[in-house]
Symmetry: C2
Subunit: 169 residues, 2 copies
DNA sequence: GGCAAATACTTGTTCCTACAACTATGCCTG
DNA sequence: CAGGCATAGTTGTAGGAACAAGTATTTGCC
């Protein structure tokens, strides 16, 4: 371990980055709960399913895309199934696996929630950034992800030219 | 509500920013738990106290600096007091308030944990960024904080010229 | 083809956090 | 110098996530 301290500018930047990481997710979570009775996490479960072929994913694939542990996802999906947002079926290919399907109702809930969520993302993130800063932020995030997620599990296929599928966000 | 969709680049950047916000805090939390038996939150409780005059803060001031609710902080501080990391005393100025003091032991734990934590921050955040990107990131975070924390409660005094106090992180 | 190991999930427990209700102290107003 | 209101914390309860253990299915190997 090298124990080099951060210089003053780095320390300053870190304090602000840390503040953003604490405030932004909870701000978005609040808006989703209020407007759509969805948690931030549940929203992205629906979003990931909506982007998948046939709107179906196996539990483990869904867990990877949402950065969830399997136990956590299992509990959440059970409750979402009780609400009718998703449906679970056994995988005919592999009896150990469970397929999670996005229902019509779940898709409708996502479509209803998406504009408000996207609007919140714009307000909090993009409104005050010019085009150059947006592309700078992309490069910076990429650099960090080299260390944090070298496999690109979470960025999925978003490191290639953008997937225009809607709704995403 | 305006319901403008994000353009492709914005969507791409958002996916990556979101990934950073999910992975980075938990990566830092893991390292602190492993190396120092401190949560990310507890570490910053100690850090905020260490930077305060006399290494003392009132509960409400500490809650503001750590972005915690008072109930949450109350529980955590009670446990940290049981471990001997902090000490609580009534405020002679105001009988409603409680002063939280950093103990020598708490300071020692912070000093022992800081190098590893700072090292992790460097590895995950700064190592792959050049000086220009660091300053870009500072400006970008500032822009977001205009909306997220207009009062600057969390950035405290870090928007002014850097406070060289060590250890911070 | 049968046994061991690996995979894919589920269930149960524990810890942590948020929200709500409560207590105690200080302030302010008539 | 009351009575009412605001402030500062604590405690209790309920929901969410992490970790550990258990179940079922498939795969690999002799």
């Amino acid at each position: 371990m090298v124990t080099t301290w951060l210089d003053d500018e780095q320390l300053n930047v870190w304090v602000r980055l840390k503040a953003v990481m604490e405030l932004l997710p909870s701000a978005l979570d609040s808006e989703l709960r209020r407007a759509a009775e969805l948690t931030y996490f549940e929203y992205y479960v629906l979003a990931m399913l909506s982007e998948a072929d046939g709107r179906v994913l196996r539990m483990s694939a869904l867990a990877a895309r949402t950065n969830a542990t399997l136990p956590r996802l299992s509990h959440v999906v059970r409750k979402m199934a009780e609400r009718g947002l998703v449906r679970r079926t056994p995988d005919p290919q592999d009896g150990r696996s469970v397929l999670v399907h996005l229902t019509e109702e779940g898709y409708a809930v996502l479509v209803a929630a998406a504009p408000g969520h996207v609007d919140a993302v714009r307000r909090y993130v993009f409104d005050r950034l010019d085009d150059e800063q947006v592309s700078q932020l992309g490069a910076i995030a990429d650099a960090m992800l080299d260390r944090l997620d070298p496999e690109g599990v979470l960025t999925h296929e978003y490191r290639r030219p953008a997937d225009p599928g809607r709704p995403a966000g």
